[in-house]
């Protein structure tokens, strides 16, 4: 590696540095800018006079007496009850991840171990389901949910998200279980275990790395979803993303766009931490499907 670096001409080095610098600004700057701006008043973050006001906080100083203000956060979390949406999001994500993984590990394991052709057909069907845009499915749910009074409940949304999540979860865990040698559970079955006992005692203890990676993506799907949650949840059961979207409709006119800015930062923070702690798993999960294929 070092010999290669030495041979690298100066122009190439400059080009690489330039590309990386531009990309880093593109990727990270919007987040830093919004984080910084969320502690200012609207007049500074959306400054008519001079964009640099957002950095110095001229109006923030005049209006609130300090260079930073947490008014936006107070307004969103307390006044507009964003905490309720955060709580709902936590509940939805927790149940979606646990149920998805439970169903997914059982299904993925069976699909990895079956040698019959129908297992392949099953995976192919899952692939087709994975390609369906969620909003087209929502237009299929609505009339039925209205008729049976299922609309608006958290439980309904959880089950819907679990189902939408299944195709991806199955594919990922299927390819993960394929990498666990089949001799492991087969030898347990030779020793007299049933299929389920073999799964319970031999496979479960070694499956956690794959399950954690898949869980991260299930979490992302539930956390980031807008189409399903905005259409299927009643106002008091709303999760964070539809709540942010509702700020746009109501508060932009009232001049409280800073509520939306601060809630956007609040939504981003957990994702930021997740990438920070699980970077390796996320990268391995993203490349699992690709590199093998």
């Amino acid at each position: 590696m070092s010999s290669k670096a030495q041979r690298q001409p100066a122009t190439v080095t400059c080009l690489v540095v330039a590309i990386l610098a531009i990309w880093m600004i593109l990727a990270a700057f919007p987040f830093l800018w919004t984080l910084w701006g969320s502690f200012k008043v609207e007049g500074d973050f959306f400054s008519k006079a001079n964009w640099a006001n957002a950095l110095t906080g001229r109006l923030t100083l005049i209006e609130t007496g300090g260079p930073f203000t947490s008014d936006g956060y107070y307004g969103a979390w307390v006044q507009e009850e964003f905490w309720r949406a955060a709580l709902n999001s936590t509940i939805v994500c927790f149940f979606v991840v646990t149920i998805s993984l439970t169903l997914g590990t059982l299904g993925g394991y069976a699909l990895a171990r079956s040698t019959y052709r129908y297992a392949f057909w099953f995976l192919l069907a899952a692939l087709i389901f994975r390609a369906m845009p969620p909003i087209t499915l929502v237009s299929g749910y609505l009339p039925v949910f209205f008729q049976w009074n299922l609309w608006g409940h958290t439980a309904t949304t959880v089950i819907v998200l679990v189902a939408i999540n299944q195709p991806f979860t199955l594919w990922m865990l299927h390819s993960f279980f394929k990498n666990i040698p089949a001799e492991l559970d087969e030898s347990a079955m030779v020793d007299g275990c049933t299929r389920f006992q073999a799964f319970r005692n031999v496979i479960i203890p070694v499956m956690w790395p794959g399950v954690i990676t898949t869980g991260l993506f299930s979490f992302l799907l539930a956390y980031n979803d807008f189409a399903v949650t905005t259409m299927l949840l009643s106002k008091e059961n709303q999760t964070m993303i539809p709540k942010v979207a509702s700020f746009l409709g109501t508060t932009q006119t009232k001049g409280n766009v800073m509520f939306a800015v601060s809630s956007v930062v609040s939504v981003t923070a957990p994702l930021f931490l997740m990438v920070l702690f699980f970077q390796r798993q996320i990268v391995s999960g993203l490349t699992a499907g690709a590199v093998k294929g």
Partner: protein
């Protein structure tokens, strides 16, 4: 694995997908060929001192009875598909005869909601996908030639635009390009036009949406390519170098052929994902300038009057679009399975 345990292992997952993915697709198809019942009108005769008068009122009991008897509504065949909000066959014919040139015909078509949506969706899909591949590749090669120590932080920041909630990520960019935001005012300065507003201009809105699309998806291409670069054979590279290949030739003849299968994978995934484009249009409040198929469904479903049949018809048309884009993926998966 034997049939019986396989069945029980797969059963919960299969049931969930059957109930909440397969049935809704069927339900959407059924709904799209039904319309709501017309109101049952009854004629009531009211008599008073001055004689009898006939008046018409809505018969609520009969309406309710009809609705509970046939909750789907009236069968309407393909009428919804042909109406102005979908394929607009009559309008299309009218425009064809009335328009003087291709250009004229094009503008008229873009006023029809369905064609407006599908035009943007397709342009978005086929512009963003190649750009994502190019950007992802350039960034991956650059990160790969950076010093090992800083690669971790580089990857961390590169992942952020992809991990962020689409709605939220689009909002962050939208606020920056606002006429009063940092990028918006920079653009005004560069263009020398203090009234320039991205929001108010159709071409600029399209460009912004696509910039968002590339920003959001490029990290995916980057990460896949970066993983691919780790498995480039060092021997082949060394051999190329000995033969006098410069950096560009090494990339052209060793690295790109090695990454080609990954490119197919990224392209197929991205085509499907970009075809769903939806959240950025909500975030940018761009519906006056650009709509997508998913947005059209969302728009029909929301609001005071839920137009379920109309949404269902658009959904079916979207599913047909997805099916066309999906077919190469299925063929590829099929071949791979047979090879094994």
């Amino acid at each position: 694995m034997k049939h019986k345990p396989f069945f029980w292992f797969v059963f919960p997952s299969a049931l969930a997908m059957l109930l909440f993915i397969f049935f809704p697709i069927v339900s959407v198809i059924v709904q799209s060929v039904h319309v709501e019942h017309e109101q049952v009108i009854k004629i009531v005769e009211t008599c008073d001192l001055f004689g009898c008068k006939e008046s018409t009122t809505v018969d609520h009991d009969a309406n309710a009875a009809l609705r509970s008897e046939r909750p789907l509504g009236q069968f309407s065949g393909l009428k919804i598909y042909a109406d102005r909000n979908h394929l607009a066959i009559d309008d299309l014919g009218g425009n064809w005869t009335s328009s003087k040139s291709w250009r004229d015909f094009g503008t008229q078509i873009l006023n029809l909601p369905f064609y407006k949506a599908i035009t943007f969706t397709l342009v978005f899909t086929f512009v963003v996908t190649p750009l994502v591949i190019i950007f992802g590749f350039v960034v991956a090669v650059s990160v790969n030639s950076a010093v090992k120590k800083i690669r971790g932080p580089l990857i961390f920041f590169s992942l952020l635009p992809m991990m962020i909630t689409p709605l939220v990520g689009a909002l962050i960019l939208f606020w920056m390009v606002d006429a009063r935001g940092i990028v918006g005012s920079t653009l005004q300065y560069l263009a020398g036009d203090p009234d320039l507003s991205v929001k108010a201009s159709t071409p600029l809105t399209w460009v912004m949406l696509m910039v968002y699309g590339v920003w959001h998806a490029a990290p995916f291409a980057f990460i896949v390519y970066y993983a691919g670069l780790q498995s480039v054979s060092q021997d082949t590279l060394e051999a190329a170098r000995v033969d006098g290949a410069n950096r560009w030739l090494q990339i052209r003849h060793v690295i790109i052929p090695h990454l080609l299968p990954l490119t197919t994978f990224i392209a197929l995934m991205q085509l499907m994902d970009n075809f769903r484009v939806f959240e950025p249009i909500v975030s940018f409040s761009a519906e006056a300038h650009a709509t997508s198929l998913s947005w059209a469904i969302y728009n029909d479903l929301g609001g005071e009057t839920r137009q379920l049949s109309s949404a269902a018809a658009t959904s079916v048309l979207t599913i047909i679009g997805v099916a066309i884009l999906l077919s190469p993926v299925l063929v590829r998966t099929w071949r791979e399975y047979d090879r094994k």
